[in-house]
């Protein structure tokens, strides 16, 4: 049996069964299975990956005919060193989001879970697809439920947020689709298969002009999806309105689609185009995302918006790493994507848990929660430290590697980016201090009186623990991931010279 296919199809089939009217109680129990299966399969495949037979970096390759073979569109599944960590991350974050959703008291919970399962199936498909068309297809499959869930179960401004997200992300997706179609035709391969595309382009090579144009399309298309400044405005608004599990899955996993597309498709296929745009990408990422958004984040008073801005800000590091065009930089970005997936999801989860206890997202109205909820505050402080990038957490290695790689290429921008770490420390720690320490404000004291805050319940702790353990595991033992990443990246990027010994990335 093809485990990859099961990981994608199981949540989708369950969702379909729930639409067709599975009994509610049974459906909910099965939903646990639907969320757990992808995560378990991800870990199993990870263990098998080193030993598995590989064909141009991809293991577990299988191809299914969906009826469009004539156009070179096939459902080809497989994992390489870049997609494997993301696949596992998607599985684990999905499990955490699913567990969190199932214990929440959302209205019409069954519909909510159904859509979340669709999203989960799409996410697994994104990282398991070797076919560029299906890679895009699964992304959209995961994106549509996002809009619907934000619109129905969202918080403040949900209609506006859902509309804005839809328009922005559709534009981004359309731009990248045109870019992908352009690669399909200009490569002469007449296929969407990533391996065949690479071979065709290695043999023929695209003209410099074509590369520049296509890379520009992909950069802005994917850039909108990853919230590249100044096309990021949908993100804080959308995350602010999104229900917690959706924000976890979108900010944690789905958003990485754009970066993954840049790394897996755009950079290796269009090296000259990438070189042309690198400086612009790095500048937008560092000055726009890290610096400007960092400052904006410092001014936020709304906890969830703050987490949203922080997620946008950290994407700046990823853009900087991508713009280095080196094995080290890209390796760092992959590591950071995984780490950020866990930490962003954890932060959104905890922000919602805080909201349940304080009934507000306004930082100025909170305080002193540590007394009644010590475990929650411990988790939150840990998540904040992780997101700042302290050693011991996975984010540290990602950011460090990116800085090392970027120092060779963009020294000034690297300095600014490192300054950004200080910014994120300021707003992160300030938020933690306001929520948990200090005396409770008057308004908050009233809320506490009516509804004494409890600590994290076990059903909330379990998903949070899952994410935190993953963060720490990769933080203390980065080699878990780096070996396979390096191997694949080095093979896909043979033309680009490595300016830094690969050992640095392997730390």
């Amino acid at each position: 049996m093809d485990l990859l296919l099961i990981a994608i199809v199981a949540p989708l089939v369950l969702a379909l069964a729930m639409v067709l009217g599975l009994p509610k109680a049974l459906a909910r129990n099965l939903a646990y299975l639907g969320f757990a299966l992808p995560a378990v399969i991800g870990i199993i495949l990870w263990c098998q990956f080193d030993a598995a037979a590989k064909e141009s970096t991809y293991a577990f390759l299988t191809t299914y005919d969906t009826g469009l073979t004539g156009l070179g569109i096939n459902l080809t599944l497989g994992l390489n060193g870049i997609s494997l960590p993301l696949f596992v991350m998607a599985g684990i974050v999905g499990l955490a989001a699913g567990l969190y959703a199932l214990q929440s008291a959302a209205e019409r919970l069954n519909h909510y879970v159904t859509l979340l399962l669709v999203m989960q199936g799409g996410l697994m498909g994104v990282f398991a697809s070797v076919d560029v068309f299906f890679f895009y297809f699964f992304h959209e499959l995961a994106l549509i439920p996002t809009f619907i869930m934000v619109g129905i179960w969202g918080g403040r401004d949900r209609n506006y947020a859902a509309m804005k997200m839809t328009i922005y992300l559709t534009v981004g997706a359309m731009l990248s689709l045109i870019g992908l179609i352009a690669i399909y035709y200009t490569s002469g391969a007449q296929t969407f298969d990533m391996i065949a595309l690479r071979e065709a382009i290695a043999a023929e090579g695209l003209s410099t002009v074509a590369q520049r144009n296509i890379f520009g399309l992909l950069m802005f298309g994917f850039g909108i999806l990853v919230s590249l400044w100044p096309l990021h405005t949908w993100a804080p608004l959308g995350y602010g309105a999104a229900p917690s599990s959706v924000a976890m899955l979108h900010a944690g996993v789905l958003k990485k689609f754009g970066l993954y597309g840049l790394i897996q498709v755009a950079l290796p296929l269009l090296p000259e185009g990438a070189a042309h745009w690198a400086l612009i990408l790095a500048t937008l990422g560092v000055v726009g995302n890290v610096l400007i958004i960092g400052v904006v984040a410092m001014a936020q008073r709304d906890l969830k918006q703050l987490v949203g801005y922080s997620s946008v800000m950290h994407m700046g590091y990823a853009f900087l790493g991508v713009a280095c065009l080196s094995v080290v930089g890209v390796g760092g970005v992959v590591f950071m994507m995984v780490a950020h997936g866990f930490s962003a999801a954890l932060l959104f989860l905890l922000a919602t848990s805080i909201h349940h206890r304080t009934q507000t997202f306004d930082l100025d109205e909170m305080g002193g929660l540590v007394k009644s909820a010590p475990v929650l505050s411990a988790f939150f402080v840990a998540a904040t430290l992780a997101s700042i990038g302290l050693p011991g957490f996975a984010n540290f290695w990602g950011e460090l590697t990116i800085f090392v790689a970027a120092w060779q290429v963009f020294p000034t921008l690297t300095v600014i980016a490192i300054a950004g770490v200080v910014i994120s420390a300021i707003y992160g720690l300030r938020a933690a201090a306001k929520v948990f320490f200090g005396p409770p404000t008057e308004a908050f004291a009233k809320v506490l009186q009516e509804q004494p805050a409890t600590d994290l319940t076990w059903s909330e702790r379990l998903p949070a623990l899952l994410l935190l353990v993953a963060l720490l595991a990769f933080g203390f033992w980065p080699k878990l991931m780096t070996d396979s990443i390096n191997e694949s990246v080095a093979e896909i990027y043979p033309a680009v010279e490595t300016t830094v010994p690969a050992d640095v990335a392997r730390n």
């Binding site: 009826g67 469009l68 004539g70 156009l71 297809f137 499959l141 859902a162 839809t166 045109i178």
Partner: protein
């Protein structure tokens, strides 16, 4: 009396080749006979006879899909049987079935004679099936007029309703005008291609094959060019391409909802069937045809989407969005001149459009009240809560029309865009993408109206509460139709298998 000539001509009349059309015609007659024979109380089974009969014809047609006639011409060159033609015949049969089911639902509420609706629907679909295979201007004109006159009656079918009559009158004037233009174009082409003074002139100049040869041999004939433009304009009326789209919003709004569905789905497909044929016939005047169609496509996409943005009446909205769909399909037609698989792409697009439209119109039929022309977006408030089934079907249908992956409509758009890209139509592609992005806004607005909680004016004591929007109970056949359309829209997005193979895409 040269009987040999007649015999020779008759030898080419393979009646089996038009078996499905004959059966559709006979079924229409059978319905009329049943109306006379059966007592009045039993008349309600007649619509079921129509639907069951159509399903039978479809089954037989699918079994004999790969008939020996494909690739041949019959009836002295009046008809050419092709793979695309076969697909379109099936398409029109399916459309007629869907519309008949919707007709049963909608006519229940009207005090209208019920039988003629189904009989005319059948006759019109039979004519469309012939139209898709026409290989001669005589055939094309007669079939097209049968369709058009049938639609005059259908559009003004609820004759107690002045809005329906007004729509009928508007459709009548516009339809007759387009027929007149088309006819004059045919006359010019016929005359110039039969002129013995010119090279490659033919005695059989109504025949598409002969005309094609003639146009190749005389690439600079001004009268032929005028004829081509007039013919294309006449067809553009039928598909609702700008600047011949003015009738669409009013007629779509006034016509009974099932007829609107029939207009949107089958009439448009019939127009594109003609266009696909004509584009190959007019191959010698490629630059002229491409120029005319390109301008039309750009204007159609932009106008359709921008005009739909401001609509609140969903029938007008779906009509104007249908205009934009005609624009995307025009892009496909232009691509089909250079890229063979574009024809398959157009067929797939039409099929996805059929499924999506049936889903949406099916829901509209159930949501509409007594006044069929008054269908506002506000009537959809809380639809998802009170009628989850209708809500889901609506969302899937609209999503598919909007071209949201993973639904069938997305694959249709993607295939057409792929073809356009291969044909190098970058400017058109850019406009089309822009159109898709705009269209997300109004489709999403409609879904939003049905799904997302709405603000309601508070009801004070003493005031009458706002009247509940009228909604119908979904009957079993209608439920099956809606569920099939929605499920097929989803499945075709994931797996195109046999359909892709049929259309030469697999």
């Amino acid at each position: 009396m040269p009987t040999e000539l007649l015999q020779q001509a008759a030898a080419d009349n393979h009646w089996a080749a038009i078996g499905p059309e004959l059966m559709v015609g006979c079924l229409a007659l059978l319905l009329l006979v049943l109306e006379i024979v059966l007592p009045k109380a039993r008349h309600e089974i007649i619509p079921s006879v129509a639907v069951v009969g159509l399903l039978g014809i479809i089954t037989g047609f699918v079994i004999n899909y790969h008939t020996a006639f494909v690739g041949q011409t019959t009836f002295n060159g009046l008809l050419r049987h092709s793979g695309t033609g076969q697909f379109l015949r099936l398409f029109f049969l399916l459309a007629a079935t869907g519309v008949s089911v919707l007709g049963i639902v909608a006519l229940k509420r009207q005090k209208m004679p019920k039988v003629e609706f189904f009989a005319i629907t059948l006759v019109v679909s039979g004519a469309m099936m012939l139209l898709a295979q026409a290989n001669n201007f005589v055939m094309l004109f007669v079939a097209l007029e049968t369709v058009t006159v049938g639609f005059y009656i259908l559009v003004s079918y609820t004759r107690t309703n002045p809005l329906s009559l007004e729509a009928g009158l508007k459709y009548l004037i516009m339809g007759a005008l387009s027929s007149g233009i088309l006819l004059f174009g045919i006359a010019l082409l016929y005359g110039v291609a039969g002129n013995p003074a010119l090279t490659a002139a033919s005695a059989d100049s109504m025949n598409f094959d002969a005309l094609r040869v003639f146009l190749y041999a005389n690439p600079d004939n001004i009268i032929a060019a005028v004829g081509i433009v007039l013919v294309l304009s006449g067809v553009a009326f039928k598909v609702g391409a700008v600047p011949f789209q003015i009738w669409i919003p009013d007629v779509y709004q006034g016509a009974p909802t099932p007829v609107t569905a029939f207009l949107a789905i089958a009439s448009k497909a019939a127009g594109f069937a003609i266009l696909l044929t004509l584009v190959t016939v007019f191959d010698g005047y490629q630059s002229l045809v491409v120029g005319v169609l390109t301008v039309m496509a750009i204007a159609t996409i932009l106008f359709g989407n921008l005009a739909a943005l401001t609509q609140h009446n969903v029938k007008r909205l779906i009509g104007l969005s249908g205009v934009s769909h005609a624009g995307y399909l025009l892009v496909g037609v232009i691509a089909a001149i250079h890229v063979p698989f574009a024809v398959g792409a157009i067929c797939f697009y039409l099929f996805a459009y059929l499924l999506g439209s049936l889903a949406v119109f099916g829901v509209m039929t159930h949501v509409s009240g007594d006044d069929d022309a008054d269908q506002d977006m506000d009537h959809y408030a809380d639809l998802a809560k009170t009628h989850p089934f209708l809500g889901v079907v609506l969302a899937v249908g609209l999503g598919s029309l909007a071209g949201i992956p993973p639904l069938a409509g997305f694959m249709g758009k993607l295939l057409v865009f792929l073809a356009a890209f291969e044909a190098g139509l970058y400017a058109l592609l850019g406009v089309a993408i822009l159109g898709v992005v705009i269209s997300i806004y109004y489709y999403f607005g409609w879904i939003k109206a049905a799904f997302f909680p709405q603000w309601r004016p508070p009801v004070f004591e003493g005031d009458d509460p706002l009247p509940e929007p009228p909604r119908q109970v979904v009957s079993t056949p209608a439920g099956i139709l809606l569920a099939t359309a929605a499920l097929a829209s989803v499945l075709l997005g994931f797996y195109q298998g046999p359909l892709g193979a049929w259309l030469g895409l697999g």
